[in-house]
Symmetry: C2
Subunit: 582 residues, 2 copies
């Protein structure tokens, strides 16, 4: 095996790199981290599977093989892959539009969705297209996550009340809740509300209490992370002891015991067509969520992650999940932070977590029979409330109305029309706003800042100008969307300044001149030439100048091209035979 080949293989399979240096200290760190994460993941995995409309055990299956594959192919040391709230909700939306919840087709569709999403992530990774995720702007992501959190929490209220309420949008959910509120099962409500309260208290109050009681901080941490398991155990025991399932408290029921099953995605063309757009959206959202978690955690340790390799890691995880009874997964924030806080040293921590979940799947599932769904709903509600952060609205309002518009639309569309339309609307609107802004660029008439060679906007600074020289700084790349606008503005400015003999287009902000803009520059050059006005360019950047040299524009230019604006003004002023004045 030669070195070049080995380097290539190592790039795509990072385990070959860190695996070689693995030692006992890393092992004990990883194993402890895995224990903590496993304890946290069991109830959460069950809950998210129910959120996706799937049998509870699929949440555990979805964690096992994907975690191992991510450990082999991923680059983040701390990322924990598995079912997450937003992707589970998106799965429910996507699969729910194709099959009836509870049917075999529904399960097959979810497995196929994981497979398609994995294929798409792999394709993006091999084509090194990870940057595409950047088109989801921060405000759009923030708005989408917040709106999804609201949808998820609202969707769980029915489980706390023990009633029916379905829907993929907020109005539908709220309407159904009100319609069916009369059916509330009070035993369920009591369990649900107590579980929610207990989980909130465990999340915020247990660890400080334990520490104040003299527990070691790390132990206090383990105990408080296992709090949800205690709530699960307590409510399960209560249901069993008082036979509350006979009083209408819905429980998880029989869960098959054993290894994750060998499953396979469907290869039906119809199903693929029906899931295609959803698979793309889930992949992109999952990738963005995962990468931002991974980057945040990596930055804390001065490590770097490779987004394109992350695509491959997540892609393999999803494909692996689709063959082992799973549904779409990604790197989750909560579980990764736990992993990180528990000092996971390498991706092997993930593999040990998988082992722990395998044990749970083999031995613990019979104990889940009496686990009330209300407890799982409480787990989800407590988890997603931390996702909801409406502060993005005032922050964007204060900073930039365009961002505010994008984030508001994303939130409204997600709540009112569902997750898929919501995120798509956000992305499309932010791109449209950006294009609109670049289509009407800021243009400033500039003059010399006294005592310097620096030229700035005449409206904002005290500057020196010459009535015979009009310098226009155009603050945008020149391309098809603004080419005609540029023409119109230059003509207008020249028309209103009859003394002008030279027009200098100052181009420090022009990063591109495409064919359409070149034709507009030619038109401006010709028009100004006709009326005896010189047309000059200054501060054209290297790459743009290279481009212009490939056309014959510079030969036709009736003026000159100057390296700097100052040189342009000096030369044109000298040519006239007198100094320029204020």
């Amino acid at each position: 095996m030669n070195t070049g080949f080995r380097a290539t293989v190592s790039r795509y399979i990072p385990i070959l790199d860190w695996g070689r240096r693995y030692d006992r200290s890393a092992f004990s760190d990883d194993a402890l981290a895995a224990l903590i994460v496993t304890i946290m993941l069991v109830p959460q995995s069950l809950a998210y599977a129910l959120l996706a409309g799937l049998p509870a055990q699929m949440g555990i299956y979805a964690s096992i093989v994907p975690i191992i594959l991510y450990a082999i192919f991923g680059t983040s040391r701390a990322l924990a892959v598995g079912p997450v709230a937003v992707v589970s909700l998106m799965t429910a939306t996507a699969v729910g539009s194709i099959a009836q919840q509870g049917s075999a087709e529904y399960i097959t569709a979810a497995i196929t969705l994981a497979f398609l999403s994995g294929l798409f992530l792999l394709a993006l990774g091999f084509l090194r297209l990870g940057f595409l995720a950047n088109f989801l702007s921060h405000p759009v992501i923030a708005g989408f996550i917040t709106a999804s959190g609201i949808l998820i929490a609202t969707g769980q209220i029915k489980h706390l009340l023990g009633i029916q309420a379905s829907g993929h949008t907020l109005p539908e959910l709220v309407l159904h809740l009100f319609e069916n509120m009369g059916d509330t099962n009070f035993a369920t409500l009591a369990i649900g509300v107590s579980a929610t309260a207990a989980l909130f208290w465990i999340r915020n109050g247990l660890k400080p209490l334990l520490v104040s009681l003299g527990f070691d901080a790390r132990l206090a941490n383990v105990i408080s992370k296992s709090g949800p398991v205690m709530v699960v155990a307590a409510t399960t025991l209560i249901v069993w002891a008082f036979a509350l399932d006979d009083q209408g408290v819905r429980t998880v029921g029989a869960v098959p015991q054993g290894l994750p099953p060998l499953t396979a995605p469907s290869f039906s063309a119809d199903l693929w067509a029906g899931l295609f757009v959803s698979a793309i959206l889930i992949s992109v959202i999952g990738f963005v969520e995962s990468v931002s978690v991974a980057q945040t955690l990596a930055a804390k340790k001065r490590q770097r992650i490779d987004p394109d390799q992350e695509l491959i890691g997540l892609g393999m995880a999803n494909i692996g999940g689709s063959f082992s009874g799973g549904y779409p997964v990604t790197g989750g924030f909560a579980r990764s932070v736990v992993n990180f806080d528990a000092r996971a040293a390498t991706p092997a921590a993930g593999a040990f977590t998988a082992l722990g979940l395998l044990m749970a799947s083999l031995f613990l599932t019979p104990l889940l029979y009496y686990l009330p769904q209300a407890t799982l709903a409480a787990t989800i509600i407590v988890a997603v409330l931390s996702l909801i952060d409406l502060s993005i609205l005032p922050r964007t309002w204060a900073y930039a109305r365009a961002d505010f518009a994008a984030v508001s639309l994303t939130i409204l569309a997600t709540l009112g029309l569902g997750v898929e339309i919501g995120v798509t609307a956000g992305v499309v609107l932010s791109i449209l706003i950006h294009l609109y802004k670049t289509s009407r660029p800021h243009m400033a008439v500039v003059g010399q800042v006294p005592g310097t060679e620096h030229y700035r906007n005449v409206l904002r600074h005290e500057v020196i100008t010459d009535p015979a020289i009009l310098t226009v700084r155009v603050d945008e790349s020149l391309y098809f969307a603004n080419a005609r606008y540029l023409e119109d503005r230059v003509y207008d400015m020249v028309a209103s300044r009859p003394k002008v003999e030279h027009v200098i287009l100052m181009c420090p902000a022009v990063n591109e001149i495409d064919m359409s803009a070149l034709e507009s520059l030619e038109a401006i050059n010709e028009r100004l030439g006709d009326i005896g006005v010189g047309f000059h360019l200054s501060e054209i950047k290297g790459p743009v100048m290279d481009r212009l040299r490939r056309s014959d524009f510079l030969q036709h230019l009736n003026g000159d091209v100057f390296l700097s604006q100052h040189q342009a003004v000096e030369t044109l002023t000298e040519d006239k035979g007198f100094g320029h004045t204020a």
Copy 2:
């Protein structure tokens, strides 16, 4: 009526402005122009209606009312509105997918398409959204027009051969032509080929011949413009005289004689839904074609047109057409140039043309019975061949591969998949390419050009730099698509230069910093602060600075903001207590 109200009314109804100053000299110019245009329009209007798959007389109807309405609401002095080749082809494509050619539904759909397209144009006009047309880049338009010309010319060959061949794409058309070539009617072929040859000769050779024979240039012009009418008359007479219609030469046949009929668009929701996208595409293409013709002609006379008002003019023209037996119209290049060359002084020339066409519709239609369709096909072929210009391919190849990619895709998609997919693909690809480019901006490390206060790329110029100061000029607005890329690049540059104490982000090309980019700048600031590197900004533009002041970023900035790059370097060098060296 107060002045403000009158100004508003005049803005939307320009005739109130020029109509008041109308005099005898303008009248005689307009009337002569109208005569010439009418003579040219009769055969062309019939031909384009057949191209759209409609009865020949609809081409004339489509010119009458629309011309008058455009004269009232439009702003161009020379624009002649009516059926044009590309829009006729697009009409055939759109309506052909909904109804069978020759059926009453087909005609209703074409009329409804004109109505919808008119509504859409009006809406764009009132919302002042004319700039949207700028997103059709020059190369995309050029490619689309060329490909449409090829499609149209190929589609007419069947009429020259007297065979059947249908299809909306080049492969379909060519395949059908080869399949049915054996059915060629030789009488039709003889007429078709002679008419084509005659029209080519008239277009290029007749006027010079007449002038060399001593005719007055203007008269020679009128005669040569009426050449097509002579070809129409000659071939009609031949078919009649030799009873060639009995030998299989297809003719126009019975055309109703009379005023344009009163028609109405359908208000069927299904039909509207089926035509909606087509109406948008036809409106935009028609508008772009019309505006570029109008602007070209206006520029020659130092006049200006108002694109938003043009939308209203074209919108009224189409709505008017839909109530008078017409189909979608726009400003055509050939007829407008004729109008212009014939010295039309005001839009009234158009109204006189409408009068001429009305006369034709009232009195000439019986004469059209024996007019062979092959002659009309020849008229179309000669007209559209001037649209075909493949030189855009080598020009864009030489200048910019991105433009080349957009134009090639437009041509291939238009020829291979049809006009609607073709133009959409071109627009989408050019926007995607633009976004891709801005997502990975050019970034240059810069230094001082000796003896100046000007700073340029170290790789392209001999410049002075200081190892403790890294100045990075980022050549793009900072927004969501490139925010993460900026972070990565800055970290990489700092990591590879251990001596760096200050990073200056030089921002003359940064025209916007959106919320996502602000968060990235905050992250960079924090990360550099952690490793003891100062983070400074220079040459931030006014509007961007205003924006930054609305956030708390400047308070957290661990360095300073400098008006000019030179000032930044001077200050930071002085702080260190020694001069900066080469």
